[in-house]
Amino acid sequence: MSKKELGPDIIVCKDVNKWYGEYHALRGVSTTVREGEVVVIIGPSGSGKSTWIRTLNRLEEHQSGQIIIDGTELNNDVRNIQEIRREVGMVFQQFNLFPHLTVMENITLAPIHVRGWSRERAEEEGIKQLKRVKIPEQAGKYPGQLSGGQQQRVAIARALAMQPKIMLFDEPTSALDPEMIKEVLDAMQQLADDGMTILAVTHEMGFARTVAHRVIFFDQGNIVEENQPLAFFENPKHERSKLFLSQILHH
């Protein structure tokens, strides 16, 4: 399984700090992600994985440090934020589909209103993305009429329809029944094969082993260890990663 040549740096974090009131949630996170790279983020609960990934598209504000996405710095400038959000797709644990819109309307909403596409063009793209996640026949249904796995795949298609350069996944399979997890992971693997830059918080170690270029281990608001998956799983260097791995692997 030859992983493709990686491109230039597309995400740069320098000493990112975030506080929730008094609580120091991110403690100087620094790392870079290259174009086409698949990064899996793991770590114990409450370690700040979600918080970090959500600062990358400004769902959470960071208070100090620098985040540069595809050459644009994330700061209080609303235009920068909008620009970055256009290029960064996100998939949530709870799907967050819009229940009052059909699957197709869910997907075409942002291309039409943000990119300014015509309805025809947006629907063409929508069908393309639905085919990519293998549910083109569900286009006319409402989210409430779909299974969890189908809903999550619609959420992926919805993010992809904006033709983002980066995809963020925050525990995309945690709310799913076991038999539906595979269909979502397959869709993610497909994306990785197509060369998408992916940052995924997930507990699916199989996915991390086979698809990721790099595993980032988070603890207490910072990156404790990062390495290629094989090296990380076979030979974790840090005490806390060893402990964490022993806990989840002997589960």
């Binding site: 959000r85 797709g89 967050n96 819009f98 009052h100 209103h113 249904k141 409402y142 409430g144 904006m162």
Partner: protein, 541 residues
């Protein structure tokens, strides 16, 4: 072996065990037994009073000159107490018999099944059915006796004057003779068609809206134009009702708002305040949830412009001396003479200065504070107070020389009042939308405004349709309070109809009629809302 016999056991032998049934239903508990006696006693009472009920009195048309016609005789027989009571009892016995028969035979037809499930659900159910049926039947008899069989329908005052002393029931003539008064009040007859036209416009718009907000309706793309049409209808109908300025007579004559009245006024008031309080309430709800810190610049400029406008109407034309009270001083006043220029400069400096201070030193959320204070203030006082305030206070805030007529002031009061309640309802809806919806929307690149308009509000408003329509129905009925500030709405017009000499003392007829009109309108709104809910809810879950 035992298991097999169990599985193939034949259906139970149909048998109604009276002892078992009584023990189960009536004597299972001392309170049940007591209750059974009470029920039986009550039934006995109503049956007895049913059999001994007085015959109803017939109106002149069924019994001219005391001679009861054949039709009159039939009505007397059918509505007589013994006939009605025995009919109810016989029907009840037939029903009970049918259910008992079906129970013993274990054979249920759809009729007997329905009877068992709804009217004869057991010993107590059956007795309650009998009791309530007799009560309902005799209430209906009383209503018919008053409103129909004993009533006179002639609208001719001369005829009514003659037969009124011998009329046992209602004299509906007051409604028939005053229909125009009820409909448009003192609005001139020759311009009455304009009122009718406005009513038709509103009805057509309402019907179109009902269809356009139907799920999968071909009119869906007209939703936005319809919203604008509603907003445009308000000035349009006001224009139509007011007439062309300069015309003293003729079909387009000017009709001052103090002549608008009756149902017309009620509709004008409620449609205007419902349509306009909606956007206002929406803004208040959003404002109360706003996260903006400080003072938004747009509103600062808006207030400054308003202040300047106010000044232009109010500034003194020549130098004037103002007496300013100062405490702890003898004499306790100082006299200050200001030229017109100084006066304007001083007020402007004051307004700008306040905003500058607030903008720089008050980092709080001004929009939120304003909306919260507004909502809590308005919700804390009765509508009548708001109407009085609108009537008395509003002129004070206007520039000199600008006069607003009574109707408009009242409408402003109604809008302000309703918006505060609506805002809280909408806020409840907004609160019910999970945060993830907003996050997903902005993560896709939608702006805050777009997320609100496309994602949050459609879901939030849908969730609160019943509460909102409840508020609108309340507002519709509350328009009857405007009579207190001198407007002649339907209810007030009805009161004035009662005081006409030829119809003196016909309160009951008038109020029943007015109640029916209010009920029909409110119930239509309620039906429309149920339809809307059903249509918009499709596919949601």
């Amino acid at each position: 072996m035992t298991t097999i016999t169990k599985n193939v056991r034949p259906p139970e032998v149909p048998r109604l065990d009276i002892n078992h049934w009584l023990r189960n239903q009536v004597f299972s508990n001392i309170w049940y037994t007591l209750f059974a006696f009470v029920l039986i006693g009550l039934n006995g009472l109503v049956i007895q009073s049913g059999f001994t009920a007085q015959p109803i009195k017939l109106a002149f048309s069924y019994a001219p000159n005391g001679q009861v016609t054949a039709l009159g005789n039939l009505i007397l027989t059918v509505t007589s107490g013994p006939f009605l009571t025995s009919a109810v009892i016989i029907l009840w016995l037939i029903g009970a018999g049918l259910v008992i028969y079906s129970a013993t035979q274990h054979r249920w037809t759809s009729v007997s099944h329905w009877l068992k499930d709804s009217l004869f659900t057991g010993f107590f159910g059956a007795l309650t059915t009998l009791l309530l049926t007799i009560i309902i039947v005799f209430s209906l008899r009383a209503m018919l006796a008053w409103g129909f069989f004993g009533a006179e329908f002639s609208s001719d005052p001369k005829v009514v004057e003659l037969i009124r002393p011998n009329t046992p029931g209602a004299v509906w003539g007051i409604v028939g003779a005053n229909l125009q008064l009820f409909a448009i009040g003192r609005y001139p007859t020759e311009a009455g068609w304009r009122a009718l036209l406005c009513l038709v416009i509103v009805m057509v718009l309402a019907a179109l809206s009902l269809f356009a907000w139907n799920f999968g309706s071909p009119l869906i793309k007209f939703r936005r134009p319809l919203v604008y049409a509603w907003l445009f209808t308000i000035p349009l109908t006001y224009g139509i009702l007011y007439g062309l300025p300069g015309n003293e007579t003729g079909p387009m004559m000017v009709v001052k708002t103090d002549l608008w009245g009756g149902f017309l006024l009620t509709v004008v008031l409620s449609v205007t305040s419902i349509v306009l309080s909606f956007p206002f309430g929406l803004l208040l709800a959003l404002g109360r949830r706003s996260q903006t810190k400080g003072v938004p610049y747009l509103s600062v400029w808006g207030f400054i412009l308003m202040a300047i406008y106010w000044l232009l109407g109010n500034y003194p034309s020549e130098s004037a001396t103002y007496v300013i009270p100062v405490i702890f001083r003898n004499p306790p006043t100082v006299n200050v003479t200001l030229s017109p220029f100084m006066y304007v400069a001083l007020i402007t400096a004051l307004v700008v200065g306040i905003f500058w201070l607030v903008g720089h030193y008050l980092e709080g959320n001004l929009i939120k504070t304003f909306c919260t204070v507004y909502i809590e203030l308005v919700r804390g006082v009765p509508l009548i107070t708001v109407l009085f305030m609108a009537n008395i206070m509003l002129p004070i805030f206007l520039p000199k020389g600008v006069e607003i007529d009574n109707l408009l002031r009242v409408v402003v009061g109604l809008i302000m009042f309703s918006a505060a309640y609506l805002a809280e309802i909408v806020r409840g809806g907004l609160q019910s939308i999970p945060k993830g919806q907003y996050e997903a929307a902005v993560a896709l690149g939608l702006s805050t405004t777009q997320s609100m308009r496309l994602i949050i509000l459609p879901q939030a408003l849908r969730a609160v349709i019943p509460a909102m329509v409840g508020d609108f129905i309340g507002l519709f009925k509350d328009t009857s309070l405007v009579s207190i500030v001198g407007l002649f709405d339907l209810l007030k017009i009805a009161q004035s109809a009662i005081s006409q000499p030829e119809w003196l003392g016909l309160q009951r007829e008038t109020y029943v009629f007015v109640a029916i009109v209010y009920w029909v309108c409110s119930f239509s709104m309620s039906l429309a809302s149920q339809r809307l809910e059903k249509n918009l809810g499709v596919g949601k879950y």
